[in-house]
Symmetry: D2
Subunit: 338 residues, 4 copies
Amino acid sequence: MIIVFKPEATDKHIERVVERLKEIGMTPHLSRGVARTILGAIGDERLLEEHPLDAFEGIERIIPILKPYKLASREFKNDDTVVDVDGVKVGGETFTVMAGPCAVESEEQVLRIAHFLKERGVRIMRGGAFKPRTSPYAFQGLGLEGLKLLSKVRSETGLKIVTEVLDAQNADLVAQHVDILQIGARNMQNFELLKKCGRLRRPVLLKRGMSSTIQELFLAAEYILMEGNHDVILCERGIKTFETFTRNTLDISAVPIAKLESHLPIIVDPSHAAGFRAIIPALARTAVAAGADGIIVEVHYDPEKALCDGQQALRESDFDRLMDEVRRVAAVMGRTVQ
Amino acid sequence: MIIVFKPEATDKHIERVVERLKEIGMTPHLSRGVARTILGAIGDERLLEEHPLDAFEGIERIIPILKPYKLASREFKNDDTVVDVDGVKVGGETFTVMAGPCAVESEEQVLRIAHFLKERGVRIMRGGAFKPRTSPYAFQGLGLEGLKLLSKVRSETGLKIVTEVLDAQNADLVAQHVDILQIGARNMQNFELLKKCGRLRRPVLLKRGMSSTIQELFLAAEYILMEGNHDVILCERGIKTFETFTRNTLDISAVPIAKLESHLPIIVDPSHAAGFRAIIPALARTAVAAGADGIIVEVHYDPEKALCDGQQALRESDFDRLMDEVRRVAAVMGRTVQ
Amino acid sequence: MIIVFKPEATDKHIERVVERLKEIGMTPHLSRGVARTILGAIGDERLLEEHPLDAFEGIERIIPILKPYKLASREFKNDDTVVDVDGVKVGGETFTVMAGPCAVESEEQVLRIAHFLKERGVRIMRGGAFKPRTSPYAFQGLGLEGLKLLSKVRSETGLKIVTEVLDAQNADLVAQHVDILQIGARNMQNFELLKKCGRLRRPVLLKRGMSSTIQELFLAAEYILMEGNHDVILCERGIKTFETFTRNTLDISAVPIAKLESHLPIIVDPSHAAGFRAIIPALARTAVAAGADGIIVEVHYDPEKALCDGQQALRESDFDRLMDEVRRVAAVMGRTVQ
Amino acid sequence: MIIVFKPEATDKHIERVVERLKEIGMTPHLSRGVARTILGAIGDERLLEEHPLDAFEGIERIIPILKPYKLASREFKNDDTVVDVDGVKVGGETFTVMAGPCAVESEEQVLRIAHFLKERGVRIMRGGAFKPRTSPYAFQGLGLEGLKLLSKVRSETGLKIVTEVLDAQNADLVAQHVDILQIGARNMQNFELLKKCGRLRRPVLLKRGMSSTIQELFLAAEYILMEGNHDVILCERGIKTFETFTRNTLDISAVPIAKLESHLPIIVDPSHAAGFRAIIPALARTAVAAGADGIIVEVHYDPEKALCDGQQALRESDFDRLMDEVRRVAAVMGRTVQ
């Protein structure tokens, strides 16, 4: 950590900071320049999170040198984490396609989509039972009934299930019915939910918040890892910008950055990034080319009747085309699609 | 609602949409231009939230005409809502200053700050017991112990208390100890929490999400209002942009827009918008001048020892200066500061 | 165009708008709903650009239906434009790699890089003679001397040259020395420069502004096309967001959107998007996978000595690796790299 | 300047950086920690702009300590700059209202508005002769004819004139006709134009780019100051965000920050920030309260007939109300409105 003092900082101001650093176990190194006095603090910077210096008089700026996350970093663990979803691997040499409807609507619907996907070699199905919706007037999901339908799909087809958990309160319930707990973009900094999922023994799919930085995503993962759950899958799903053609702006750079900085697997959600069907296959191809470990996409046999996000649901024929294209790019990248 | 069809849309595409509109009780008006066919749909547009048209083939764009929120709108209720916080009014002709430490740290700390504020005429004190922190290594608040200390302040000083509730799970607990439930920026779209607070009988201070639009803020308020709780105070606290001098960018325009579009009171949080002490009084003055109903600011007698956000805490002398300046601008605006 | 009136709009307000529409040659269609009166205006919406209605009393909102650009749109010209750069094609079935140093620094430097690139099969070289720099203290380019060096490279190697033109004033000069005129991100809305380049007979490489929407990019292209120059190559180079790992956020979705909406070729600049070398090959692969017509990248044999942007310059070995990867993904996409 | 090395940096990497620093006249201070080696470089950091270190191997991050701007900074000049516009002062104890139409449309129009404004005590009139328009189909201004009309207003009324200059090419021409050269938001980083205006002897009104940081605004001012023109007036006019109610998001914090960091006067443009009339008076009040040195607003006696931006033009009665409100807040701030 580097502390830069204001030109007008007094010796007393500097002394006070030096003392505080010593108190918390860091080693200060003072360097007086013509224009500024600078103090380097050597030691575990996370100590400063609990004893912040921000408000000390005379300080102009505090510059962290070390990364604020540890367990999520590649410095902590060099080997890629491969998450085992009850026998299905995410990460490593496979490229995982998770697919399914936006929302669980009926038994007929989920089973039909499940069988379709299974035939295409998909092993993990998505489907929302609890839907976070901007408007209170929009369809909010079937809730518990939806969970039960997902459970039925699981036992009938052997597909693994990922579904969103909205709240620490019903995380246990969700964990009883599905294989992967999804933490949605709006909840990436719902810290109670992160901690709760960290205490459950289920892989977690952690979506990046729509206005979160990649570093904040790593810190959200850190909350889960710290509780002892190491099975975290990151997900880039687009961030908010001023662009209006797309629902969000897919930050494809997040993929190679996650690979540099972290050992956790990362997948891409082209459906929510795009917000409309036509460009989803192209974005899926970029996910493979960027080095992602998979994608999660929305599929519906009759998008016109979908109760949510129909405009971004792939039809069955779209999905077949997407899989074909994904497979061809994956082959070049040395990955097997499943 | 206006539905614009693609140039290549067929009669069958158009017919299907017309029929669906009739099914859900809306009246379609077709208008065929040279370049595009357009369909106007007359009726309650919120019906479409449950039966979306987005995925119908042939549609290029769907343009809502009516606002997606109702209860929060000025069209629904023309008179300004004045929230009664156990005898202290927020809204109307008063300009309310809520102040206090970022976090409850100790009995000595909260009582000292409470007495200081009370002497200055402040009637509502803020203070966090549960702190949402980006890093898991940062101070997370005293929790239940913090709530008890706030309760003690309340009974000793008569100050009303506002504190953040992080999770639907412990909303009941928080409601037992304080007067106003604060929903933080990161939780503005935590819909379970919104609904829960809508069912409690406590005023709610609803902060705008750091990347939420004003319309999304109104829709979040709508979740609370729909559950029967009409005592919602909006709060503008800065949005995320690429600017780096400030922690967030205070969107001061949100104040006059809220006054045009909604009947709910709106206050401003200059502390979190700025992120550093020096410009907070200036931002507080702009809040008054913009027509806000109050501000919420962080105050600490010894910011260097504050366990969180010390750099944005006003010292006692800063607060006195701020109050003086706020009072002078408020006088011009015809408002009484309390 | 759809005009939505306020609930309180009077008959007179509506009448005035109807008359104005008739005056400028559009056909109005009135539709009175319970909540709102709506007016559809049929005809060429670009007429409204010259006779705007925005300020008419009683109007709540004006919604354009047609696209504001014409010549750049795929509706206007369905076939992909292939730009002929003095015999080298950009667009169609080739994937064009433009490469070279950030800035022209010396004869030795540009010639060495030129020969290196030529051996690798590159046919278009980039290199800045005039450098737009945020700080006036930074290296501003060699200017005319730089142009002459580029000219020399051109005649010695046969490579085509792309370089930035900063100002309408010296566009003629630049056009005498190079093959493609680059309009930089900061100048995307320098309308005098756009018009000037539209009047020159040189292909134009038009970079998207760092905070421009894709639609604004199309409109900037429209300025050039309207002057009679049809050889416009679009370039996505990243947009400004709050993310800090990267210099800008590569909006890879712009590629498939440009392919849907426009006939113009589009290339990607992964160097400026990333801002650091390590992730540039990954982003180049995504460009190919997204369907782009090429990339433009920075290369330097000794980045440590580069006078600008050395941290994002690929070393020779990096470039070889990138070309190899790009070729493999291009093969899958049915493209030949040149 | 602080240089942080990667954990894997070798002694040779570090040595090379140390040598380069010495070469360019800076003094290196090495500090080896457990986790990272850090190098402090003492001396004029602007030297590094010409000899960048970014690409040296082994470097993880370079952190500037000093500000990249000098002449624009308050450290360089402590006293507030007051710009003298041919006898009318901007800055200091006056609060300057610049007002006028978006575009010059006719002699009758500019003279009528000029006389109206003069009667209200306004001393500087705005009006565009060259209009930068996103769409090539929109009204582009009267050009030279417009300049002549402004010149006529100046001689007939004695009002000082501010108008936009789009291009270095015609800056001389514009300078012959008006008192203040406005550099628009889209041109804030048109460096040729900045330099040209720096060489002219006319005050410059420099608008912040819609996606520029405040620091980039200071650096743009630095370009002008370096050429010897010290009469620069900064202007905050809103930045691009995802918010849609307003055309741009007024970053009101830019005002107190400019006052802290720079000696240059700063005014606010509430018209372009808002994009619609109703909230402009409220934003104008916030400008005064924030400590700005003035505002620039659009006024038209018949906005319905305005050829551009009519929806954000104040009617005469709106302007009177605005002036009244501005005067009352200015009195509290100790400012005289002119």
